[in-house]
Structure formats: structure tokens, C-alpha cells
């Protein structure tokens, strides 16, 4: 592309810079109206009250922001680095993925209330916060990375192979390039997640940090300050999100401009094909995953001689669920809770996915929509649910409505980013073909882009479904007081660690099963498109 400087009137340029103002103004007006209407119940402070509080807190922002940012950054880098390395290993070594991907799911959906006592006992000072941040980003980046590495078209791989290329060359020449857009989408999703993970870590106790400030503000009923903290968290996440996006755009200039001859070929991406070729290896893989999880679980407890009172072993859990005298009663209590949690998670997942996919289409079609939606989405994603619950519960109630909103919030953002990225990375030629045949932009969207987005939808589901279960447990703890989420907290408060661990194992097991289920559906759908393609 030759650089032909486009003479632009300076005034217009300046106006373009201010294009974020109209959406901002809309938000401010709506906010002010809500604040004034709800003034007697003090749930929504006015924008100027928040601004005044924020400015009044100027002297303490640096120390708290730096504390949170430092831990979030360490977790962000460590978690993402591990995810990228593992993704490359997965693509090269098939059995590694078969065994370890499920283990990765476990890290994503294990209830934190079960592992935080262990983290705080094992690691000094800030390390538990960094680990929580790393855990929060690890799995989503891993999924994004694997999706990207696999999204390279099979013709491309065949081409390199036919020219005598080794697997290593395939990786370097085609896969890494194909991975980058997806990887950067993953890194963007990880930005608010890392901040949020650190905040959760700060809830365990810290001298400074935005999480401490939020707890202090909420418990002291300093609502303008609480909102100021929440916006600051969102701004932090937003800066990382934006920065990652810029770096991604610089490093992947070809995205959406790809001159590819393959129309619909990417649908044949290998995603999912590497999993279980036959029932035998599937069972072996599952046993391998269980063995790894049990070995790590037991190994950590044994290696550090953790007190059996809070660190329960697989034997304790099996006893609680299967062999104790009250095992049958225990099972039935947990099953009742599980059904409620699955209902909560399912509804929230469906709403979140439909909403996110719809909005992804919207923001790919209109830059204005993106400028309006993304900041709000980032704000909603990076504020701890615990801080938003009073407001959410007020608006949506503490029943199924409130839970659905909370689960939707958790699943919405990763799905939005993943699907929007896929819609964007549709090869330009594929779009041009439709346009040149007299098709409209809407047809490009429905005929081509959506087709390309299908693998992304599944990748998003791999994150969103376990995420929905985790979100449901959170909502149950904070809003409804029923289901496994509420049971976890009650058991924790009562030091019933046997029950706590058993419930955690059930949550993890069910999440892994659901994750496996997504793979099955994905294979069926992919196959259907393959058939049609031929």
C-alpha cells in the first residue's frame, strides 16, 4: 500500500477525535437522571458526587493503583505466557491436549473459596493475588490461542507440507501467523480478567490496592468513592484492553485484508478434530486428565503437609460422597443444589451468548456501535460483581432475573470479543465475492462472516459455559442464597471443608463434562459444514 497522504481539513480531523463525546453524553444524562430519581435510596450517586470523591482521593490513587496493577501485571504475564506455551505444545503433541486441556478447564472453574485458603497458606504476601490473576487469564488465552493455531486452512498446511516443510515450519510459517488475531483477542479478554482476579486476591487481605479501597468504601457506605474505585478499575482494564488491541493491530495488519482463495475453507479448521478419534483414546485421555488432577491435588497436600482440616484429599471427598454413613443424604443435598446452579448457569449462558453475538454483529457493522458498546462492556466486566450486586439486585431483583443478569455479565464479554474478532478476520476476498455478485453488506454478514464465526462461537462457548457455572455460583452466593454457590459459602463459614471440597469437585466435574459436550456438538456442526462444502 503506497502512502498517499489524504489532505483532510484540520477541523474535521479534530471533530473525529471527539466522536466519543455523543455516547459519553448519553451515558452521563441517563446516569444523572437515574441518580436524581433514586436519590432517596442512595444506590446511585450523581456523576458530580463521584467526580468530587475521585478528585478528593487523588492523593491515594497512585499507591492503590500501582499495588493492583503490579500484581495484575505479574499474573497477566505469567498466566498468558503459560497459556501460549501450552497452546503450542497442544498443537504439536496431540495427547498433551487430550490430557491437559481438561486440567486447564479445572483451573478455570474450580471454586476459589476452596483453593484460596491453600494459596494463602502456601504463598507469601502478594503471590496469592498474582496467582489468582494468572488463573483468571490462563484458560481464556489458552482457548483463544489453540483456536488461532488451528484456524489455519488445511490447504495452506498441505501446501507447506507438499513443499517438504516440516511440522516446525508449518508452525512457524502458517500457524503462528494465523494465531495472532485470535491470540490478541484472548489477551484483550484477559485484561479485565487480570484486574478482577487481583481484586479478588485483595479481598483476602492487603495493605493497599483497589480491592481494599472498594471494601473500605462499601463497608463505610461511601458510595461515590465505591463508584470511583469501580471506574478506576474499569479504566485500568480498558487501558490494557486498548493497548493490547493497538499492538495486535500493528502486528497483524493483514487481518480482514487477507487475499485468500478459500471461501468457506476455514470452516474446515481442525478445531475439535484432534480430539478423540475413537472411544478408546477418549477414555484414556479422560483417565489421564483425572490422574493429573488427582496427582497435583494430592501431591500439593502431601508435599506441604497441609492441615487435613482445610485441605481435603480425594479420599475425603469420595468418603463424603460415596462411603460415609450419610453419603446418600450428602449426595441428595448436593444434587438439589446442582440442579439449581445448572438452571441459573444455563439461562444466563443462553442470554449472554445471544446478546453478545448480536452485539458482535452490530459492532462489526458499525464503528459507532463499537465505541459505544465496548467501554460499557469493559466497565461491566472489570467491576467485581460483589460491588455491583446491590444495584443489580435492586433493578433486577434477587430471583432468577438477578442471577441471569449476573451470569450474563460474566459470559457476555469473552463471547463478544471472540465472535467480533472472528467476524472481522473473515478474508476480504470472501466478502468481495458476495459483494461483486450484487450481494448487500447484510448478506456478507449472514452468508460469509457468520459462517466464519462458527468456530469462534464454539471457542467462546468453551470459555463461557464453565464461566456461566462459576458466575451462577457467584450470583447464588451474593443474590439468591440457594444453589451450590450459596452452599459453598455457608459451608466455608461453618468450616465444613468436607462438604466444601465435595461441592467443588462436583462443580468442576460438571463443568468439565459440559466442556466435553461442547466438543461433541462442535464436531457434529463442523462435519455438517464440511459435507456442504463438498
Amino acid at each position: 500500500m503506497t502512502a498517499v497522504p489524504m489532505p483532510r481539513p484540520g477541523g474535521f480531523q479534530r471533530l473525529r477525535r471527539l466522536r466519543f463525546l455523543p455516547p459519553l453524553a448519553v451515558v452521563l444524562v441517563l446516569w444523572t437522571v437515574a441518580a436524581l430519581l433514586l436519590a432517596p435510596i442512595r444506590v446511585v450517586p450523581t456523576p458530580w458526587a463521584v467526580a468530587t470523591a475521585w478528585i478528593g482521593d487523588l492523593s491515594i490513587w497512585p499507591v492503590n493503583i500501582l499495588a493492583t496493577l503490579r500484581n495484575a501485571a505479574i499474573g497477566y504475564v505469567a498466566g498468558n505466557a503459560l497459556a501460549i506455551v501450552l497452546a503450542v505444545v497442544f498443537v504439536r503433541v496431540e495427547w498433551a491436549e487430550r490430557v491437559l486441556m481438561r486440567v486447564a478447564v479445572v483451573t478455570f472453574c474450580v471454586p476459589l473459596v476452596a483453593i484460596t485458603p491453600i494459596l494463602t497458606v502456601l504463598f507469601p504476601d502478594d503471590v496469592p493475588k498474582q496467582i489468582l490473576a494468572a488463573i483468571s487469564v490462563f484458560f481464556t488465552t489458552l482457548v483463544a490461542c489453540v483456536l488461532g493455531l488451528r484456524s489455519v486452512s488445511s490447504t495452506m498446511i498441505d501446501l507447506v507440507r507438499s513443499m517438504g516443510g516440516t511440522e516446525g515450519e508449518i508452525l512457524r510459517r502458517t500457524r503462528v501467523k494465523a494465531m495472532l488475531p485470535s491470540l490478541f483477542a484472548g489477551l484483550q479478554i484477559a485484561a479485565p480478567a487480570a484486574v478482577l482476579g487481583t481484586i479478588l486476591g485483595e479481598y483476602l487481605g492487603a495493605n493497599e490496592g483497589l480491592g481494599v479501597l472498594l471494601v473500605q468504601a462499601q463497608s463505610a457506605f461511601q458510595i461515590p468513592r465505591a463508584w470511583g474505585v469501580a471506574f478506576t478499575m474499569a479504566a485500568l482494564a480498558g487501558v490494557v484492553y486498548w493497548g493490547t488491541g493497538r499492538v495486535g493491530a500493528l502486528l497483524t495488519p493483514w487481518v480482514g485484508k487477507e487475499v485468500s482463495t478459500a471461501v468457506g475453507q476455514d470452516i474446515q479448521a481442525e478445531a475439535g478434530l484432534a480430539t478423540a478419534r475413537n472411544a478408546g483414546s477418549a477414555v484414556l485421555g479422560l483417565l489421564g486428565s483425572i490422574a493429573v488432577v488427582v496427582a497435583v491435588w494430592w501431591g500439593v497436600i502431601a508435599a506441604f503437609g497441609l492441615s487435613p482440616y482445610f485441605a481435603k484429599t480425594p479420599v475425603d471427598v469420595l468418603g463424603y460422597l460415596l462411603s460415609d454413613s450419610e453419603a446418600a443424604a450428602n449426595r441428595s443435598v448436593i444434587l438439589d443444589g446442582l440442579l439449581i446452579t445448572l438452571r441459573d448457569a444455563g439461562l444466563g449462558y443462553v442470554v449472554g451468548t445471544v446478546l453478545a453475538s448480536g452485539i458482535a454483529v452490530l459492532i462489526v457493522s458499525s464503528a459507532g456501535a463499537e465505541r459505544f458498546v465496548m467501554p460499557i462492556a469493559i466497565v461491566m466486566r472489570s467491576i467485581p460483581i460483589v460491588a455491583m450486586t446491590p444495584l443489580l439486585a435492586l433493578v433486577f431483583g434477587r430471583g432468577l432475573g438477578g442471577v441471569t443478569v449476573i451470569v450474563t455479565l460474566v459470559t457476555f464479554f469473552p463471547t463478544l470479543v471472540t465472535v467480533a474478532t472472528a467476524l472481522r478476520s473473515t478474508p476480504a476476498l470472501a466478502c468481495d465475492v458476495v459483494l461483486s455478485m450484487g450481494g448487500s453488506t447484510a448478506q456478507v454478514m449472514t452468508r460469509v462472516r457468520l459462517l466464519y464465526a462458527i468456530p469462534a462461537l464454539f471457542a467462546a462457548a468453551r470459555v463461557a459455559v464453565p464461566g456461566a457455572v462459576a458466575g451462577a455460583t457467584l450470583a447464588e452466593w451474593l443474590a439468591t442464597g440457594e444453589g451450590l454457590g450459596s452452599m459453598l459459602v455457608q459451608d466455608y463459614a461453618a468450616s465444613r471443608f468436607d462438604a466444601l471440597w465435595s461441592e467443588s469437585v462436583v462443580i468442576v466435574g460438571v463443568s468439565v463434562l459440559l466442556y466435553g459436550g461442547i466438543g461433541l456438538v462442535e464436531r457434529a456442526v463442523t462435519k455438517r459444514f464440511e459435507m456442504r462444502g463438498r
Binding site: 481494599v212 471494601v215 482445610f310 468450616s495
Partner: protein, 352 residues
């Protein structure tokens, strides 16, 4: 069989240690913790950690004031005070020895002991439990019975305790609608519930400063007699002379810190705002009110007689009765060890 198991176990343990060590080394970029040497001679202070249950504010005025006034050092302890938060895990931290002394509530510790934790309570900060029923003054709930037909905001973690209190006082639980809440009192103000399970020294104080008047009555009027913010350690630590001396030093220092805080609550609040809470820019007026609200809970006729943090025989009996009503079983007498307090107060109830 046993030997086979132990061999394979130790080998796996070593591999895991190496693995986890590597991960820890990567993650712990900057945190090289100095190995705490157990060998503390009587001349050099013993390093020890005090784990709080909540963030640094007036609620922890005593422990922090003790640090400011050099009491820990005077009593032979090189102290590190760790603030807590909503999800702090005080019992596991003390049980594992990461903190020598922790602050928590009696029933939680009792439950942990029943699950196999080796914990023992050595001093009681709040002689009167602050758990209360708070309602808006404009729409007051005056008695426990009046909760019937009302919506009652309770923390998820407090449901079991509340159930017990309601039942013991003949309140029909089926007529009380629990609403889930957290430490943030906004659901009461926004009308999501009619009453809020609060701490008399916390939410009512903060709301008052915001111009929201509340009606508050304590659960202790209804037979809920559990000490709050009790100091606890492990039985094992009490058997080790060095650690025992350090625990005694911490208990004594905290008592001295509270003695100062009670003598001048405003100064205590001022220090918490300027010192440990400076990064949270606490509201001084609110902290002063809160510090004052703590005084009647900590200083009672009992402590005037026996000294702050005291655990009287009658008090222990009341705590045990309350826990029995919460269906907590086990040898609850063994939960309390008053020997350190006796040692500290052997010359009378005032410390100098």
C-alpha cells in the same frame, strides 16, 4: 504396604515440591521472604504475625495502637500485623502456623476445631457481641418477634447462626423472609429489606454519618452470647516455650493497645487514619464514631474487674451455651485457655 506407600509418596512429594517450587519461584518475582528463624532468645524479640479478620480501621485500633506505642517490642515480639478482608482465611493461616495469632469469632473457631484444627482461644476483645438487628428509624423493627412478616437481610455466611437465634427465641422462621446481603448496608437503605443483620459498631455508625437514622437492637438481648474478635493460636504453639512467650506478648500488647484506645478513642481513630489506614484515606469523623462505639463492647464491668480481653468462667459458660444452641458439638471447654490471661493480669487488672 505402608512402607511401599510412604516411599512412593515421598518420591512424588519431592517431585511435586520441585515443580511447585519452580512455579512459586516464577510467580514470586520479588517476594523473597526472610526465613523466620525459630530460635528466638529471650533478648532478641521473636518474629510473629498477627492476622486480623478485617481491614485496617478502628475495629483494629487496639492491635495497631500497640504497634505504634511499641508494646509488642517491649513484650518481646517482632510483630507483623496482616490486615484481613471479606474472604480472609484466618483459621487456616493460624492452623498452618503462617500466623501465630489470629482474630476471629468463637463459633467459627469451634467449628474449625471440630473439623480437626488444633486451635485454642486465648483472649476475647469484644465482651459483648456486636451482632444486631438494624432497621430504618422511619420504619423500625423493635424486637426479634417483629421480624415475622418482614424481609431480613442476612449474609449468606450468617444464615445458620441467625436460624439458631430465631428458633431459640420462638420466632417463626417460616414467616421471616431472608434476603441475601453482604457487608454493604445499601439494601436496607434502598428498601430491598426491612431489617439488616449488622454490627452495632459498624453499619449504624456509618449510616448515621450519612444522615440515615437507624433503630438497632443487639442479638445479645436474645441470648446470643459469643465474644467477638477473639485472639486464638494453636495448642501446639502454647506447648513451645518461645512461641508461648510470643503469644503471651501479643495478647498483652493487644490488651495494652486497647487500654490506650479506650482511654482516648479519638486519638486511636486519628492514628488508624494517619497510620495503617492512610492508603485508604479513611473518614476521620466516621472512624472516631466507630472507635467510640467499640468502647462499651470491649470495656465492661467484667473487664474492669479482671482486665481487658478477659474470659471469665461465667462468660465461657454463656459462650458454650450459645454454641450448643447453634448445634456445635465437641469439648467446647477445651476451646478456651485462660492461663495466659492469668499470667498477664497476675498483678491486677490494669497494665502499665
Amino acid at each position: 504396604m505402608t512402607s511401599l506407600l510412604s516411599i512412593s509418596r515421598s518420591r512424588r512429594a519431592r517431585t511435586t515440591t520441585a515443580l511447585v517450587g519452580a512455579v512459586a519461584a516464577v510467580l514470586a518475582l520479588s517476594s523473597c521472604s526472610a526465613g523466620t528463624s525459630a530460635a528466638g532468645t529471650s533478648s532478641s524479640p521473636t518474629p510473629a504475625t498477627l492476622q486480623l479478620g478485617w481491614i485496617a480501621n478502628s475495629e483494629n485500633g487496639g492491635p495497631y495502637l500497640a504497634e505504634k506505642n511499641g508494646y509488642y517490642a517491649k513484650n518481646g515480639v517482632d510483630i507483623t500485623i496482616k490486615p484481613g478482608g471479606p474472604t480472609t482465611t484466618v483459621e487456616p493461616l493460624v492452623a498452618s502456623g503462617k500466623a501465630l495469632v489470629g482474630l476471629s469469632s468463637v463459633d467459627t473457631i469451634a467449628r474449625a476445631v471440630n473439623e480437626g484444627a488444633d486451635l485454642v482461644i486465648v483472649g476475647a476483645t469484644l465482651q459483648i457481641n456486636p451482632m444486631s438487628v438494624m432497621s430504618l428509624a422511619s420504619k423500625p423493627v423493635n424486637t426479634l418477634k417483629e421480624l415475622e412478616g418482614k424481609r431480613f437481610c442476612v449474609q449468606t455466611s450468617g444464615v445458620a447462626i441467625t436460624d439458631g437465634i430465631l428458633k431459640a427465641n420462638g420466632v417463626d422462621k417460616s414467616k421471616v423472609e431472608y434476603v441475601n446481603a453482604d457487608f454493604d448496608p445499601s439494601p436496607l437503605v434502598s428498601g430491598q429489606c426491612d431489617a439488616f443483620e449488622a454490627f452495632s459498631n459498624n453499619q449504624p455508625v456509618t449510616l448515621k454519618l450519612q444522615g440515615v437514622d437507624t433503630k438497632v437492637f443487639p442479638m445479645s438481648d436474645y441470648g446470643y452470647h459469643l465474644w467477638g474478635d477473639v485472639l486464638f493460636t494453636t495448642k501446639e504453639a502454647l506447648k513451645d516455650p518461645t512461641k508461648r512467650a510470643a503469644v503471651e506478648g501479643i495478647v498483652k500488647s493487644v490488651a495494652e493497645g486497647w487500654q490506650d484506645a479506650i482511654a482516648d478513642p479519638d486519638a486511636s481513630a486519628q492514628y488508624v487514619v494517619d497510620g495503617p489506614g492512610k492508603n485508604q484515606k479513611l473518614d476521620l469523623a466516621q472512624q472516631k464514631l466507630q472507635a467510640a462505639a467499640f468502647v462499651p463492647l470491649i470495656k465492661t464491668s467484667g473487664t474492669t474487674e479482671d482486665g481487658l480481653l478477659t474470659m471469665s468462667k461465667a462468660g465461657i459458660a454463656q459462650n458454650i451455651a450459645t454454641m450448643r444452641s447453634e448445634k456445635i458439638s465437641g469439648d467446647l471447654d477445651a476451646l478456651f485457655d485462660t492461663s495466659l490471661l492469668s499470667e498477664i493480669y497476675k498483678d491486677g487488672p490494669t497494665l502499665d
